[in-house]
């Protein structure tokens, strides 16, 4: 998404879904994962007669509320979307003006789409041609239509292609930048957007500044620390700019290529310590490897309100520390919602017993590691304070530094005032009334200046920039292959001095683009460009002139830096269709992918996986749990809803293996791992696939690990982790594991 | 011996009730239970039960409880008891085993019936702890009842089979409507006793079955599932049967007491020491008397 038009986030908002005339949901199950947000879908249906189209390998609770349900084979979203595009272009349903003014590289997509006629799509995806025609017709004709997705689209070896083709579909129909349209990706947990914005990522600094030297320089000065000191903390300067390991494959960093594991590139050493803060690492793919990684560490530190079951999974006896962390109710601060809006969360009680808040744990750690002063310096800069107030000064520090996604407006004071006046905002548009007039609830970023009211709807050129309007971001240069990358004539946001496309604003071009003259003082204070302009002069001036600081460019359908410039279908590494795996092979193996050599084609062709492992394996969530389920399974009433780990299986498939409803079954993975779970008959899965929730832990490959829980900490419900049998496979760009399209073999236990 | 197996079977049944954590009343089966209420094609047992319990059962029980004794009181006053000579020979009719079994049954009835009535008229007794204890006694004494009723069934099965005398007995209502000592057509047991026997045994088994169902409430019976009878409907049917049969049991129980204690003076002794007056046998069980005569036992 970020590579398509600038930002990787939900473009509209949950409330705005009520404005849609059609809603297409790809690999997401909001009825289960976003039950409260789902009411907007239901209201769209009620009030707007909106049609809901669900595309999912499993018949979900969301599908139960849909008007159309297409049961695709896992990992074939790209053929499905190309099938839609094929029909859209063929019938001329696309928005030609929108494409020519605001999109680059659509021709290549059109060319590829020609190949995907409904018959072919039916063969690859399993969705009947008639149905494809029916839903495409419906979706293309009911504008605005919004497109929803979540992990069902991303967790594939070519997930990053999926998440590019979905925006392309919306661009083709001109569904971007309009109310009721947009690509509304749903974040799986509270504050995932905030965590991402703050760089819980290994390839960028906060605010998506990347890891370039310039970015480090900017942060060093903004944090009030010496750049040399900062770079001195790395093995060598060169490692500052390198991507780190990811959550999906940190264990490879421990195993260091031993025993046939993938080779790593980590300055000649392996990982020795693991520090986990609030992450259920028992819900990530390939648990057997996670266990191997844990077993080989020198030290493990786990900070969680409940026992992190990594401590149960590992056989390691010494140097495993469990630190009791406080919950969200015992601390305060800002959290960012899926629609990029922010809320203040107040403390309800002081941290209980010996638990400590996350920031206290980090501060204590920084003190002992000797960099506490540098660590906290940034919070004191704004008002030149002696000491800082947590968390307000941290929030203000973020507002001061992060320009890229426009967090300047997110001062602690403003965020709090939104919470105190939450009744003063419209529920659908988020627009404020009375004294909150001119602001949108939660100041959805970008909130360019300290008075900007937020941008509830990205890329909307029908509003002025001051009211949240903008074009697409100018992020990928001014031209490519001789084609202009700036937006076409007349496609600037309302009330702009520039009617056409324009580049991102820098100290050099500001006078020309904005048509203004800077004073000498301003010239002195202004930062190099809008991203590092701590003086805020660029943003302020832009608002006055109706200019979006990041420019006004074309979205790109073609990403020339990616392995596939336009999204291409590639079969999952473990595909039940070996014939198609030959026709649509995976990527070449990738060396040094987030420091780990990662297999693609060599894995796919290692053997004919579909012969020994004929069944598709899909994992997902339950409504009563999230993540690794640590805290949910420790709740009596939540655990009672699903007291045991289970596998949803079609009665016809189960019958073939003599598995009865409620009996135990083994599930074997191509990795040689297995789990023993209870069979639950369900018609929500067809005969060629099974579904399992991934929230359980406490059993491993048939062995009950109950005895390993410290006294009194065993949750009410434990069970096998579905991820013990999820397959090898990682996205080519993001390295997210391919948990939504693997293979397995089952037998009666 | 038999009773031991029944207790074991009961315990097994109770473990069944524990074995399933999934409720058949309140889990997903709730739907079937609800659909059974008034949907087309359902048994409508919910409504029937509600109507019966809210308007009929209490007055009926009240009627039987006081009406039957009232009739007997009139009978006693107008016709009076039968008195048989104690001077003639005594005939040994009930073995010790017979008498023990009967005694246990008797105790069971004396416990079960009043406690059952107390539950039925719980409001009168103020509900709460007292009635709850009666309810527990009702359940526990059922075990006693089971222990007695099974051997009773087996030991008296043969003589309780219907015979031609029964019709004649019925025609003259056992000769109780006058004081004449005409021989009454009856074998070892007369038609009235047979009625009581069959009600107490077969009816008793039904009472036990329905009572146990109500007691355990949440258990899984495959026959129900395969016949798509919802659990609640089964319980409703149990409650209806239990109450309707209970009426009959109560009526005959009262009759039985009247007969043995008041209507036939001294009849109760036979259940205590095993001997009946020869005249009593000659008159009230004339066919049996003839039989004994032929065998030369009388």
């Amino acid at each position: 998404m970020a590579n398509t038009w600038g930002y990787g986030a939900m473009t509209n908002s949950l409330g705005d879904i009520q404005n849609a005339k059609a809603i297409i949901i790809f690999g997401a199950n909001p009825a289960v994962n976003h039950p409260v947000g789902f009411q907007h879908f239901l209201k769209a249906k009620e009030r707007n007669n909106a049609k809901i189209i669900v595309i999912d390998p499993v018949f979900t609770k969301t599908a139960a509320k849909a008007d159309h349900y297409c049961q695709v084979r896992p990992g074939t979203d790209i053929p499905f979307m190309y099938g839609m595009l094929h029909l859209i272009f063929k019938n001329g349903w696309h928005d030609e003006k929108f494409i020519s003014d605001r999109v680059y590289g659509m021709e290549d997509v059109m060319e590829e789409a020609k190949k995907w006629n409904p018959k072919k799509v039916e063969d690859v995806t399993g969705v009947p041609a008639d149905q494809l025609i029916q839903v495409t017709t419906l979706y293309a004709r009911s504008t605005p239509g919004t497109l929803i997705w979540a992990m069902g689209l991303t967790q594939h070896s070519n997930g990053s292609s999926n998440t590019r083709l979905a925006p392309i579909l919306q661009l083709a129909l001109g569904n971007m930048g309009v109310e009721g349209g947009g690509t509304n990706i749903l974040r799986g947990h509270d504050n995932v957007q905030g965590a991402t914005d703050m760089a819980c990522l290994s390839d960028t600094l906060p605010g998506y500044y990347g890891l370039s030297d310039g970015a480090w320089q900017y942060f060093a000065s903004s944090w009030g620390v010496d750049y040399e000191w900062l770079s001195g903390r790395f093995k060598s300067k060169e490692w500052m700019g390198k991507k780190g390991f990811t959550l999906a494959r940190w264990w490879a960093g421990v195993l260091d290529g031993k025993d046939g594991n993938d080779q790593i590139h980590n300055a000649g050493t392996n990982l020795k310590n693991l520090f986990v803060m609030g992450n259920g690492i028992t819900s990530i793919a390939q648990q057997a490897k996670v266990k191997e990684g844990l077993d080989n560490l020198d030290m493990i530190v786990l900070c969680d309100p409940f026992v992190n079951e990594a401590a149960i999974l590992t056989d390691k006896q010494d140097d495993v520390f469990i630190l009791p962390a406080a919950t969200q109710f015992e601390t305060s601060g800002s959290v960012t919602a899926t629609n990029r809006s922010v809320q203040w969360r107040n403390k309800v009680v002081e941290p209980m017993y010996e638990s400590k808040t996350d920031h206290d744990i980090m501060f204590e750690l920084a003190k002992r590691l000797g960099f506490y002063d540098e660590y906290t310096a940034g919070m004191k800069i704004k008002e030149n304070k002696q000491d800082y107030t947590w968390p307000e000064d941290a929030t203000d520090e973020i507002a001061r530094i992060i320009k890229t996604i426009g967090l300047t407006g997110w001062t602690a004071k403003r965020i709090k005032s939104h919470n105190e006046n939450w009744h003063m905002f419209d529920q659908i548009s988020g627009r404020g009334y009375g004294k909150m007039k001119g602001e949108y609830y939660g100041l959805p970023w970008p909130a360019w200046t300290e008075t900007h009211g937020g941008s509830p709807l990205l890329y909307n050129i029908n509003r002025s920039v001051a009211e949240g309007g903008m074009g697409f971001r100018n992020r990928f240069g001014l031209e490519h292959d001789g084609q202009d990358l700036l937006a076409g004539a007349g496609s600037a946001p309302k009330g702009s001095v520039q009617k056409d496309g324009y580049p991102e604003i820098t100290a050099v071009n500001i006078e020309e683009v904005l048509g203004i003259k800077l004073t000498a003082d301003e010239k002195k204070r202004i930062g190099k460009n809008w991203k590092v302009d701590t003086s805020n002069i660029i943003a302020e001036k832009c608002m006055e002139q109706g200019i979006a600081p990041y420019g006004n460019a074309k979205a790109r359908a073609k990403v020339w830096t990616f392995p596939d410039q336009i999204p291409m279908h590639r079969e999952p590494l473990h595909s039940p269709r070996s014939d198609l795996a030959k026709e649509y092979p995976s990527f070449d193996d990738k060396e040094n992918h987030f420091r780990v050599d990662t297999k693609y084609i060599s894995k796919q062709t290692e053997q004919d996986w579909s012969k020994d492992f004929p069944i598709n394996l899909v994992t997902g969530r339950l409504v009563n749990m999230n993540g690794a389920g640590m805290e949910n399974r420790a709740s009596k009433y939540l655990a009672a809803l699903t007291p045991e780990m289970f596998c949803s299986i079609n009665p016809d498939l189960a019958g073939k293996y003599g598995i009865r409803d409620g009996s135990m079954m083994w599930i074997h993975s191509p990795e040689g791992t297995k789990i023993k779970v209870k069979a639950k008959y369900s018609h929500s899965v067809p005969e060629d696939r099974i579904f399992m929730p991934f929230h359980f832990a406490g059993h491993f490959q048939g062995e009950d690990l109950s005895h390993k829980y410290p006294k009194g900490t065993k949750p009410y419900a434990i069970g096998e982790s579905a991820n013990t049998v999820t397959n090898y496979g990682y996205d080519i760009v993001t390295q997210i594991p391919e948990t939504k399209g693997g293979l397995c073999r089952i037998e009666f236990a | 011996m038999k009773s031991k197996y029944i207790i074991i079977a009961l315990l097994a049944l109770s473990s069944l009730a524990f074995g399933y954590s999934d409720s058949v009343v309140w889990s997903d089966n709730l739907v079937d239970n609800i659909l059974g209420y008034d949907k087309e094609g359902s048994l409508h047992l919910g409504q029937y039960f509600t109507i019966l319990q809210s308007t009929y059962f209490k007055p009926l029980f009240f009627g039987v409880l006081f009406g039957v004794p009232a009739i007997f009181l009139i009978h006693y006053l107008i016709i009076g008891p039968m008195i048989f000579s104690h001077d003639r020979k005594k005939i040994y009719v009930f073995t010790l085993f017979n008498r023990i079994v009967h005694a246990i049954a008797g105790i069971a009835f004396i416990l079960i019936i009043p406690t059952g009535l107390i539950m039925m008229f719980a409001t009168t007794f103020g509900g709460g702890e007292f009635v709850r204890i009666c309810k527990d006694i009702h359940a526990i004494s059922t075990l006693l009842f089971i222990v007695s009723i099974v051997p009773m069934f087996l030991m008296w099965l043969r003589p309780m089979l219907p015979s031609s005398d029964d019709i004649k007995w019925m025609m003259i209502l056992g000769g109780y409507l006058n004081k004449r000592k005409d021989p009454v057509p009856a074998g070892r047991f007369n038609a009235g006793q047979k009625m009581w026997f069959w009600l107490a045994t077969l009816g008793g088994f039904l009472m036990i079955g329905t009572g146990v169902a109500m007691y355990f409430q949440d258990f899984r019976l495959d026959i129900l599932v395969s016949n798509s009878i919802s659990q609640i409907d089964f319980l409703r049917a149990s409650a209806i049967i239990h109450n309707v049969l209970g009426l009959a049991v109560l009526a005959l129980f009262l009759t039985h007491i009247y007969m043995s204690v008041f209507a036939i003076k001294g009849a109760i002794h036979s259940m205590i020491n095993g001997y009946k007056e020869e005249e009593e046998v000659e008159i009230l069980h004339s066919s049996y008397y003839k039989e004994l005569k032929e065998k030369g036992e009388a």
């Binding site: 009411q39 609770k61 139960a64 409504v623 | 239970n33 919910g46 509900g127 409650a239």
Partner: protein, 204 residues
């Protein structure tokens, strides 16, 4: 607006909205600290996994007009409040389960206590209105859970409902809300909402 004096409080679960998230039942269990095997509220899913036929409903005591449970109780321990809430007295109840047999919705439940599965006294949804004990006393809380109605709060299940499928309030008003939802779908007249006539009669 309805006449507050004559308000009869009712539940209604809109099956077009219910997504079986169990928010209601968990909120109820948590708020009233119910024993493990008691679910005053239960969400059931019909035709699971079948397109076009699957739907879910949240079910608890419907606080019936002319409540059948009240009619059959041998201890007469039920009482119906002026606002239509059907409550019962646990001190009187003998746990005979007749109310369960009479109830169209399987609402009354019995905690199993003791090794021989002796049923305890009946428990059911109180519409968060406690019981006959002194309002907001410890005893009331222990026996019947929170009395939110006395505190002027909405029953916790409906308050927690994530999609506002579960409605509670004056019967006239909730039927208005529901009617509005149905009409705005634009499918024309709907079949009669499930369970409505059974619970509330056809008067409304």
């Amino acid at each position: 607006m309805s006449d507050i004096g004559n308000a009869r409080l009712k539940f209604y679960c809109d099956e077009h909205r219910c997504i079986s998230c169990d928010g209601c039942s968990v909120a109820c269990a948590e708020a009233h600290e119910l024993p493990a095997n008691i679910n005053r509220r239960k969400v059931v899913t019909m035709n699971e996994g079948i397109f076009g036929l699957e739907y879910s409903l949240s079910i608890a005591c419907m606080h019936c007009t002319d409540a059948p449970c009240e009619q059959v109780c041998p201890t007469d321990c039920f009482y119906i409040r002026e606002d239509g809430i059907v409550l019962h007295d646990k001190d009187k109840c003998i746990g005979c389960a007749y109310c369960l047999y009479a109830c169209p919705f399987g609402a009354p439940q019995f905690p199993q206590d003791g090794a021989f599965s002796i049923k305890g006294v009946m428990d059911k949804c109180t519409m968060c209105a406690g019981g006959p004990e002194e309002t907001n006393s410890d005893k009331e809380r222990e026996l019947y859970g929170q009395n939110r109605i006395a505190e002027g709060k909405v029953p916790v299940c409906a308050a927690m409902c994530s999609t506002k499928a579960l409605l509670v309030g004056d019967s006239a008003e909730i039927s208005d809300i529901y009617r509005e939802r149905v009409l705005s779908i634009g499918h024309g007249a709907k079949t009669q909402p499930y369970g409505w006539s059974t619970a509330y009669g056809s008067k409304i």
